[in-house]
Symmetry: C2
Subunit: 253 residues, 2 copies
């Protein structure tokens, strides 16, 4: 398969890496801005193009991996011959690609950071396509590097994305709140690491609902109030503590 990668941010870079590690050949990288596109193209041994009208017209697969807000404009200006065009967004519908003959969604459900290596075989890929033939094609292609393939339509993919924001982005933010509370008081974040690891082990093994512990879970209102007082100086943290405690208590009714 000859692949063109449109985009060169975090997600695009990791996807490029996955593809080249699994023997696929990215022949071209497109990016409106020179620098990061050029770097990624070199890394992948691909050519680089920064003019959308000059994108190679005869590739087999076009992967659009840019920020959601730029997808429509890119699609409007992309003209190709026969290949299948996919985007990698958790939220954009399949139909934003319906000007093409063959199209689909190829959404990797993972958090990608620069300079972080990943076990690619564990990444879930959420697939969707405009017909069964294209869906099979995307499945066969993806099986070469992932054991974790799900066929999910646009409506459900959006819900998975919201759930992922809670499970990944928001939990990471709570870790960062706890880090901030400790560091401001000259205590190392290391002290919490075994607790964090065990919290996740339990949630993954036994289901999080069954694993809930803590003051709100015991409806220990005097301790909750003491903690709220302690957070007096950090209004944001105090609000978060209050709202999450309330919601945990509500969830037990």
């Amino acid at each position: 398969m000859k692949i063109v990668l449109l985009g060169s941010g975090n997600v695009a870079s990791h996807l490029g890496n996955i593809l080249s590690h699994s023997g696929h050949s990215v022949i071209e990288v497109y990016n409106k801005f020179d620098e990061s596109g050029n770097v990624l193209a070199k890394k992948l041994g691909a050519s680089f193009v920064n003019n959308i009208s000059k994108v190679n017209k005869n590739a087999d697969l076009y992967i659009i991996s840019v920020v959601d807000d730029f997808i429509e404009e890119l699609v409007a200006n992309l003209n190709i011959a026969n290949g299948i065009v996919v985007h990698t967004s958790g939220t954009k519908k399949l139909c934003v690609l319906n000007k093409f003959q063959n199209y689909g969604v190829w959404y990797p459900l993972q958090t990608f950071s620069k300079n972080t290596e990943l076990d690619y075989s564990k990444i879930p890929f959420l697939l969707e396509a405009n017909n069964n033939k294209n869906l099979r094609l995307l499945e066969d292609f993806t099986k070469k590097f992932s054991d974790n393939i799900f066929n999910i339509n646009s409506e459900k993919r959006k819900l998975v994305h919201v759930a992922a924001v809670f499970a990944c982005n928001f939990t990471n933010y709570l870790f960062s709140v706890s880090e901030d509370i400790l560091v401001k008081n000259n205590i190392s974040f290391d002290i919490l690491k075994p607790l964090i690891q065990e919290t996740v082990n339990k949630a993954i093994k036994n289901s999080p609902k069954q694993s809930q512990t803590g003051p709100a879970n015991r409806k220990d209102l005097s301790l909750i109030n003491e903690h709220l007082k302690l957070l007096e100086k950090d209004k944001d943290y105090q609000k978060i503590y209050g709202l999450l405690s309330e919601s945990i208590i509500n969830s037990k009714d």
Copy 2:
């Protein structure tokens, strides 16, 4: 060391287990209510007592591991000879034990659930005592099963406890919110597990502040609004999504 364990809930049971695994001898378990205390005493090969005035007076170490609100009453009624008395609370001050001659705090910073096995050597123990001699004694005793010992005073311990509520109880609740969103839509929670594992790997390895990703981190307001609409039916979840997104955006200013 002859040890008396006062309490027989989750934390007390796990601590009893740790002690008996490391060759210490729990000679007696106290609990006001018969059942769980009796079960734990049998498991540890200890005697059981449900009358505080009959607790063995000649032990070397008394470990009070009951719900915070019951500590003061228990202390008021506990009369012993020479041993050192500790409590295992994250929040109660050292001085709640100052009627005794030798006392301290022995706080295991971990989430304990029934029927969950743990690597005990990784549990951080936060220690405090009324003098250096007793602190050394608690340190030497704890070193036999944990590599993770911290000397931390009552003020700082309380802050560590609040931080732990964010990093453990609240993150687990967010996992449980994401599970609920998925299950209500007939999607398996398994789909999120690789993402959750990677989120934690990154937070532990690179610091959570540096690992933040997601719509709020990119100030992607149109996506945030779309997600808020999607949560219209779950007002609690919608409020949590809004507040955490706002706080993430504030944290970047």
